[in-house]
């Protein structure tokens, strides 16, 4: 039954990994604006259609890294 220590260790580790992920997501500002991304994700299609129309250079949108 000492396998329970292993199981507990695994479950606690997994839980803590998720907790760390949460802390990092807060730190990166994910929870600062909870509205705009919901609108932004609907735009991708228009962007693609738009790019094919215009002959401008394809500037890739990257996430800002200068936090």
């Amino acid at each position: 039954m000492s396998v329970i220590y292993v199981l507990l260790a695994i479950s606690v580790t997994v839980a803590i990994i998720f907790f760390i992920a949460f802390v990092f997501s807060v730190k990166s500002g994910q929870y600062d604006d909870t509205y705009t991304p919901s609108v932004r994700m609907l735009f991708e299609d228009e962007l693609v259609k738009d790019k094919s129309n215009s002959n401008k250079k394809d500037i890739k949108q990257t996430k800002s890294t200068n936090q």
């Binding site: 807060v26 932004r40 738009d50 990257t62 800002s64 200068n66």
Partner: protein, 792 residues
């Protein structure tokens, strides 16, 4: 001309309408934005949401101060290796089309690499290369497509402030621990006498202990601090019994598991903190894009152009303006200091200061006051006083602006908390004394059990959820309150004082009537044609009311800034403007704005502009008069007194010619006996708004102009004010009902505690049950009473 609407902004196409590409536009500005968008492949803007654009303003020279690298350095967030990152506030962001076009700025200029919109805050974060681009160019680009950024002194000084995310962290920690502790304590809920379970229960218990450590010492630390502060200032606030509960829970549980007396109450402990923080999170301020702390700094430009002795120009920060400096004020700039007009014709809009919308004309040698906005042409002025010493800004040296109203007000929860703490402590003592006599071994158990079960979690949740939800409901109807505390204060008011100009009157619609000899048809046609050529706001509103379809081509047109306009056609001439311009000697109307007309040098008559009162003003006052004392506090002269007396309830007190300081003092005096609501709009009301118990700012455009206040009310919804006050009273009643409900839970819990049979599982059921039922009750009840607003 047809009654079409602008393809870009949706405004009605008036006299300046332009047709381009088969679409109608209300002005050249909108057409230009359309051209920019379509030529850069951004026409999807119009497909996302129809008529979503905003008309661009003429801004060009206004941002010259951005040439000053020192100022730019303070504004940008990041500046290295030819890359700058800046966050700009853009009040005109309002829909998904805005987000789309602003996030595709890189199509308008190749130097922009990333732009990201934060919609709730109405800001945009732009990363750009500085090789052939600059902050000024960016601002002008944004301005040219109708998204003029709002750069103020306030922002300039605020640099370096960090976002406070500690509540989210704490909530995360508490939630994480709560979930895990619940799982670990699950086996013991069933109390099965199983060998393996018994063998390993210590592992589970100490794991729970480990998880509860960060909850008590990190997530719940605020309650200990607040309770300590409360006790030190001899105030038993609601956090005292909460802190006592958390502390007892932790110590008792630790002792229990250390001496193998039981499984401890770690599940209740973590749950309690989690729910409490959830309540706090819910009542957090939600209108991040609105600023309730604005003082004159938000209105004033960051820098002005100073004329040097040798004739050169330089951009300096307004704090560096000295008495005696010569300063240039451009069109649509705000005058930052009291000064004397040296050169140019001043046409000053004092609407920020007084709420009065009609511009005032000043000649050289006259004094100009800080806070006015120059409407046309460039002015050269000599500075009389520095920024902080000016007439308007002096008001802010009053100590009332540094006081926090919320901290001085004892909330309902805190006043209950006091009685509650006393009651809990006496019950605990009595029960302990009883058990000391009857069965001493159980006494300590009972004492701690009472403190644990009586922890007023549900009571502490009632107010945040009720008021937080009410705050959101009010927000839907365009009353934006600073915090939930304001609702409680609003429910207590017994006197309402209104400012007149801009609050009760609207800045948008003027009633215009004509006095004098009737104009012939030809004259009207000529007048209308002449007005068409002028861009002055008065000409525009006059143009819109004149009934004549004949539009001809003028042979001659002359505009003298600040005086009037003249049009000639077919040997007839018409002059429109001030009394002296048209040749009228006596201008006998001082109280109202008038425009004189003369035809062929013969004075015909005048148009009088009067402010119109907002629709339903009488009804608002009648409704409010049922329960409140009313008053009007106006900075204007008493020209409108008679009219108001006829319309408003008889008991309404009226005060005219009130300076900003007078208003503040008047409210202060009233407060000796009453709780006062002040409704105002301009900066001249700022003192009164700060002094009053609740200060509401009425605003035509909630994003832009409102002084420091407790809440901003959209001008169109002023007629709902009586309902808002009623609803705030009802919310307090809901809170009281939830107190009764949660006391019932406490009585049940206390029965178990006092009789010494409190099992961890009972606490674990009772605590979340009471919390959740309170949350449900308050949410449903507030939504139910909030429906009342819908029918308005």
């Amino acid at each position: 001309m047809t009654d079409s609407t602008c393809y870009h902004c949706g405004d009605e196409c008036g006299r300046d309408s332009v047709t381009f590409d088969g679409k109608d536009f209300c002005c050249n500005g909108c057409k230009t934005v359309y051209e920019i968008f379509t030529s850069n492949g951004l026409s999807t803007f119009y497909e996302l949401e129809g008529k979503a654009g905003t008309t661009p303003n003429q801004i060009r020279k206004k941002y010259d101060f951005l040439d000053n690298q020192e100022i730019v350095g303070r504004l940008v967030e990041f500046d290295e290796e030819n890359v700058q990152v800046v966050t700009l506030s853009i009040p005109s962001i309002h829909c998904s089309s805005c987000i789309w076009v602003l996030e595709n700025l890189n199509k308008l200029h190749a130097a922009i690499s990333v732009s990201q919109v934060d919609f709730p805050k109405k800001t945009i974060r732009v990363t750009y290369k500085t090789n052939d681009f600059s902050l000024k160019a960016l601002v002008l680009l944004l301005g040219s497509i109708g998204y003029e950024p709002y750069i103020s002194l306030e922002e300039y000084n605020k640099k370096g402030k960090k976002v406070d995310r500690s509540l989210i962290y704490k909530l995360g920690v508490a939630g994480f621990a709560f979930g895990n502790v619940m799982l670990f304590s699950f086996p013991e809920y069933f109390e099965v006498e199983e060998f393996w379970l018994d063998q390993y229960k210590h592992v589970f218990r100490w794991l729970m202990f480990a998880f509860s450590l960060p909850v008590v010492f990190y997530a719940g630390i605020d309650y200990f601090i607040s309770a300590y502060k409360g006790i030190r200032s001899k105030l038993l606030n609601i956090d005292v019994p909460i802190a006592l509960g958390i502390f007892t829970l932790f110590v008792r549980s630790t002792v229990d598991i250390a001496f193998d007396l039981g499984s401890g109450f770690f599940d209740s402990l973590t749950g309690l903190v989690f729910f409490l923080l959830l309540g706090r999170f819910f009542q957090q301020k939600t209108y991040s894009y609105l600023s309730f702390e604005r003082d004159y700094k938000s209105y004033f430009p960051i820098a002005v152009t100073r004329l040097q002795k040798n004739g050169g120009e330089e951009n300096i920060q307004i704090y560096n303006i000295n008495v005696g400096d010569r300063v240039l004020i451009r069109s649509h700039e705000i005058i930052p200091v009291d000064c004397i007009l040296i050169k140019g014709t001043a046409e000053i809009d004092y609407s920020f200061v007084t709420g009065e919308s009609e511009p005032v004309l000043k000649k050289s040698g006259e004094k100009l006051f800080a806070g006015g906005k120059q409407l046309s042409g460039v002015l050269e002025v000599e500075v009389l006083r520095s920024v902080s010493q000016s007439y308007l800004t002096q008001l802010w040296s009053n100590s009332i602006f540094s006081k926090d109203k919320a901290s001085q007000f004892q909330t309902l929860t805190d006043s209950i908390g006091k009685r509650f703490t006393v009651a809990v402590l006496s019950i605990a003592t009595l029960a302990t004394i009883f058990w000391l006599v009857y069965m001493p071994s159980l006494a300590l158990n009972v004492f701690t059990s009472v403190l644990i079960i009586a922890c007023p979690c549900a009571i502490a949740l009632a107010a945040p959820f009720t008021l937080g939800n009410m705050l959101r409901i009010f927000g839907k109807y365009k009353l934006y309150l600073k915090n939930t505390n304001t609702i409680e204060r609003l429910s207590k008011i017994d006197t309402a004082i209104f400012d007149k100009t801009g609050t009760l009157t609207t800045n948008q619609k003027d009633t215009i009537h004509y006095e004098g000899m009737e104009l012939t048809e030809d004259e009207t046609a000529l007048l209308k044609t002449t007005l068409r050529a002028s861009n002055h706001p008065l000409s525009r509103s006059l143009y819109n009311i004149l009934k004549s379809n004949a539009i001809m081509t003028l042979e001659e047109f002359q505009e003298e800034t600040g005086k009037g306009i003249e049009g000639k056609y077919n040997e007839h001439s018409i002059k429109v403007g001030s009394a002296s311009y048209v040749g009228e000697n006596k201008s006998n109307s001082i109280t109202n704005t008038t425009v004189y007309i003369s035809s062929d040098e013969d004075v015909k008559g005048r148009f009088v502009f009067k402010n119109t009162y907002r629709e339903g003003m009488q009804q608002i006052f009648d409704e409010l008069a049922e329960s409140l004392e009313l008053g009007i506090l106006s900075g204007d002269n008493d020209g409108e007194k008679k009219k108001l007396e006829n319309v408003l309830p008889a008991k309404t007190k009226m005060m005219f010619d009130q300076k900003p300081e007078d208003k503040l003092e008047y409210i202060k005096k009233l407060q000796e006996k009453n709780t006062v609501l002040m409704v105002g709009d301009g900066l001249n009301d700022a003192g009164a708004l700060a002094q009053s118990d609740v200060g509401l700012a009425v605003s035509e455009n909630i994003n832009v102009f409102s002084p420091a206040c407790d809440g901003i009310l959209d001008a169109g919804n002023l007629n709902m004010l009586p309902s808002f006050i009623k609803l705030s009273k009802k919310s307090i009643r809901i809170i009281k009902l939830s107190f009764i409900l949660s006391l019932c839970y406490n009585v049940v819990g206390l029965y178990f505690a006092v009789t010494g049979q409190l099992q961890p599982v009972i606490a674990a059921i009772l605590m979340p049950l009471s919390s959740i039922s309170i949350v449900l009750f308050t949410t449903l009840a507030t939504n139910f009473i909030g429906k009342e607003l819908k029918n308005k």
